[in-house]
Amino acid sequence: MTQSKVGRPWLWVAALVAVALALPLISSPFALDIFIRVLLFAFIGVAWNLMGGYAKQLSLGHAAFFGLGAYTSTILLIRFGISPWIGMLAGGVVAMLASLPIGALCFRLRGPYFAIATIATAQVLMLLFLKFRDFAWGAEGTTLPNLGDAPLMMQFDSKSAYYYVALALLALGLAITYSIEHSWMGFYLVAVGEDEDAAEAVGVDTTKIKRHIYLISAFLTALAGTFYVEYIYFIDPNTVFSFNISVEAALVSIVGGVGTLWGPVVGTVLLEATSALLQSWFGSGHGGVQLTVYSLILIGVILWRPNGLIGLFSDLYERLALSGSSRAKEAPLDG
């Protein structure tokens, strides 16, 4: 075991937390909006990472859970006046229930088949909600009622409050990831991700593990969905079941570092920062510039550092902190 369990890393984390907590006090509403987006998408990335990063189940349909969470809480709010805090949990449960048949269908498929199937399920949900007028407002969607400052209904006057909620969600996601990583489940997930047959040979019930992690991943993603629509006061199928959300969920981990705790966070910060920079240089008017550069970056990362950029950072950290064995950093799961 390396000595890095005590000392340096905790200092960095503490510093990070302090900065994170203080940020709203020094930010403009515009900047705050960006930070909230970063926190939210980092959270979705963390949720995706559990399945896609550790267990290598490459889902490109996580928007399904995002949308289900968003619609559940919105329907409960508008039709039954139920607080979105409860709606959020209900949305999580709905997403978990949905993950069961979707998983049953998709887990039998390996590799690209699985990805294609997940894309299809999210798209089918979008199409269904586009048609449902009766209780889900169809294609036009709906705005959420503005209740002023109503913390119990997840509506706040100050943007900072939303920031802290998003921060709390991210913290939740990271805490769950951390505790899984340091338990038997984390080992089983990576085993499944590395080699399912070999995992079975040492007693890992691969189907059950995949099902369980899907439940968790779906639940967390749904929470994000509820938060998002509460934040933007609007919901429609094209927004909440958008393929872009599914892609971003996976992207931030791929760029930042799959199967690592901080990978999704690193990835989100990088991508959103790039995005913001591009927008300020080229403006959002020039259709295509932003995404062109984005995709070039993505291709670059895939060719150069397919495991994500976090490897870069941990190497850098070592050189700065002059701490112990570098091997421990590269093997995210060390006994």
Partner: protein
């Protein structure tokens, strides 16, 4: 009623031929190189734009421009395989999927940047022409597209079964290690496979130009159809992709005719999910033929 049905089937069949070119490309790449090309639709888009510019600048008929678009896209395919795909072959599913996906994003946005989102169309003497056979109408442009698509598919079959290089590709698809032991150079074979697949997509683009508009996102729609056809027809099985594409075209057409104008997509997805649920290996099971 029967006439409506028959007409819908015919329409579906004809467009199915174009879907076939795209899906055969996807399945060929998967069978030989073992990766899923999420960017296949964008190469169709490139084919369309090539034909559009040749038509608007030089007055070259899109069908003739096949002779230019196909070789161009073949070359692009070789470059894509050699410089991009080759690098991620050993890395596993995730980088591979995201590479072609990123490529797709790149091409769409480059097109958006260079050509804007405007629809580009080409009018040919036969664009609006239809012929009657019995109670059925055949749009000439679509008929020609179908015929040439079938011709190209046939030529591909001949290539794969009749030439040494084609046989080498099939060998590499069935068992890469043994093929290498037999002296087959995998990189060369892969370059040809990707080149051919992209050329077919480009051909599809050129064939579409007389009756379909070109715009940056056009590939997305066709690739969706292609993917379902590829899964239905079994990944890697070319004949399967062809047959499944024709089926998809007909299913979509019937859906639009009898269920509703916006239901084409749902029919497609439902077919995909049903296939994955009931016969995940597709209707034909097996390797590239």
């Amino acid at each position: 009623m029967l006439a409506t049905l028959a007409q819908a089937v015919v329409n579906g069949l004809l467009i199915g031929g174009v879907y076939a070119l795209v899906s055969i490309g996807v399945t060929l790449i998967f069978g030989v190189v073992k990766i899923v090309n999420f960017a296949q639709g964008e190469f169709l888009m490139i084919g369309m734009y090539i034909s559009f510019f040749l038509a608007s600048s030089f007055g070259i008929d899109p069908l003739l421009s096949l002779l230019i678009s196909m070789p161009c896209l073949f070359a692009v395919g070789v470059l894509v395989q050699h410089f991009l795909i080759r690098r991620v072959l050993a890395l596993g599913d995730m980088p591979q999927i995201f590479l072609t996906f990123a490529l797709s994003l790149l091409l769409i946005n480059l097109a958006l940047l260079l050509f804007t989102a405007n629809y580009r169309t080409v009018q040919t003497p036969y664009s609006e022409l239809t012929i009657h056979i019995g109670p059925l109408y055949f749009a000439v442009a679509k008929l020609i597209a179908f015929a040439i698509a079938m011709l190209l598919s046939g030529l591909l079959w001949l290539f794969l079964h009749g030439t040494d290089l084609g046989k080498a590709m099939r060998a590499a698809a069935q068992n890469r290690e043994v093929a290498m032991l037999m002296g087959i150079n995998p990189d060369r074979v892969f370059c040809v496979a990707v080149g051919v697949a992209l050329a077919l997509a480009g051909a599809a683009g050129s064939l579409l130009m007389p009756f379909y508009p070109a715009y940056p996102l056009v590939g997305q729609i066709f690739v969706l159809m292609a993917f379902v056809a590829v899964v239905l027809g079994t990944l890697g099985n070319i004949t399967g992709a062809l047959i499944a594409s024709l089926m998809m075209g007909i299913a979509e057409s019937l859906g639009v005719q009898f269920v509703g104008a916006d239901s084409g997509l749902i029919v497609v997805f439902v077919m995909l999910l049903l296939t994955l649920a009931l016969r995940p290996n597709g209707l034909f099971g097996g390797w590239a033929r």
